[in-house]
Amino acid sequence: MDPLTSFFIALVAYVVLVLGVGLMATRRAGSSSEEYFLAGRGLGTLVLFMALFGTNCTAFVLVGIPGQAYHDGLGVFSINAPIIALGIPLTFWAIGSPARRLARELGAMTPAELYSRRFGSRAVGVVMFAFFTIYTLPYMVTAIRGAAVTLTVVTEGQIPEWIGGAAVLVIALVYTSLGGMRATAWTNVLQGAIFLGFMVAAFFVFANGVGGDDGIAGAMRAVRDHDPELLGVQETGLYTPAAWTSWSLAISLTVVAFPHMLVRLMAADSDRTLKNICRLYPVALIALWAPAVMVGVFGAVAFPGLEGKESDRIFSMMVTEYLPPALSALGFLAVLAAVMSTLDAQILTLGSMLSRDILRPSEDPKGDVRRGRAFGVVIAVAVFVLWRVGGQSIFSLASVSFSGYVTLTPVLFLGLRWRRFNAAGALTSILGANAVYFLALESAGGLGGAMSPAWFGFLPVMWGFLAGCAGAVLGTYLSGDRGEAGAAASGT
């Protein structure tokens, strides 16, 4: 069977499966807004773990990380994987666990709604919604472009980019609208299994391809003979002490501030479930990140000479070179699965925030669900339009977004852990943090400078975070308000 036929068969089977899962979740989703937006706050360990992991891991890990490792070597693993394996679970404890409890007590169904009720301030909810949306839309546009390009390349142009992107959006929208949070969580189990399983299997196949009969040992020696620097950590750019420190802060804190991640933590059935997830997370991260980095490192041996962004093609080059047609079809499907496992959560979360934070929650529980579905369509159309008319600037915003979420973390944490923290402090923190973040970005080279050093060698995200902490404390004490509207319920 030729590779193209293999891919189409795998693609059709995958689409039928995810739509089938969406249909299975439909019956319960329409019964109430809590069922639709939060799966009845009843997600258990396995489903929630895969939902969080699938949402957390985008196609960037499968395609962008190998491209970066092609040039930078194992340093890409060193600077990212270890600190998130510790940092992300700790944020699930610090923010996720109290957010889940308080959301249940206050009847909140979105992150912005939770903090709006906690502070007794609609303004806080609207401002949080605005920043969540500003930082999430560029992400979604970038993901759609990645999926569309993948489909076009794999089908040798038979699926034009705009049709591929629209199809991915429509499929994600259909099963998300059908089954709400439960459908996205169930499909994430399938999607996460596809891309995690593929990466682990591909690592061994690629090692044998590069290392010959000696397998992994041969591949590592081939890397050493080709360029020993790939086996170490560079000493420039992101790998200098100040940049490394600020990147460690950013990548640890940003994930819990994704609204589509935080809302899933709010859907956990218990603290015990969140604890179980914290124990599983490091293992899954190693299983995904180590192969992703090694694809790039082995790729540097197999396909030397790629320059700059050309190395983003190394994943598809390795897949095409070393895998039989059926497995290579699975590889490209893994990229689509990674895109959709994040996209569905983003559509659902932004739609629910529009429905409950900008409009007020409906008296009719089913009315909320209808509005959530309608706003899901609005979000999907907005993403498609931004992709087609947004130009290059929208893509440079994606790296700004990744660090930008960190500017919200002082409020996310202190709102749940500091009783006196009030609405004035929250607004001062968010607006001050973002003002300083964008000033630091400007000094680091504009919108493309999110990963470049700003003042004293630290990345812009570090300055935004520090400003957010200072703004929270100053705003709270200078306003004089005791700020306990919803704090009693949070046990702070």
Partner: protein, 67 residues
């Protein structure tokens, strides 16, 4: 162990792990241990094992379930 003691251990452990992650004091070599395992990968894998053990302990001793 008392809550205060657990909190002290938790903070000390977190700071120690962070210091080991920000390992600019270390010679980050490019050698292959046993002829196949990159020294850098071995160091990070060891760190991740330590941090996983820390998380398991943290979930058991510090994280109080409040359902």
């Amino acid at each position: 162990m008392s809550k205060r003691m657990n909190n002290t251990i938790a903070w000390t452990g977190a700071v120690a792990l962070l210091a080991l992650h920000l390992d600019f004091w270390r010679d980050r070599g490019t050698a292959l241990l046993m002829g196949w395992l990159p020294q850098e990968l071995a160091w990070r894998a060891g760190w991740m094992l330590l941090s996983t053990l820390y998380l398991v302990w943290f979930c058991r001793s510090v994280w109080v379930e409040e359902d």
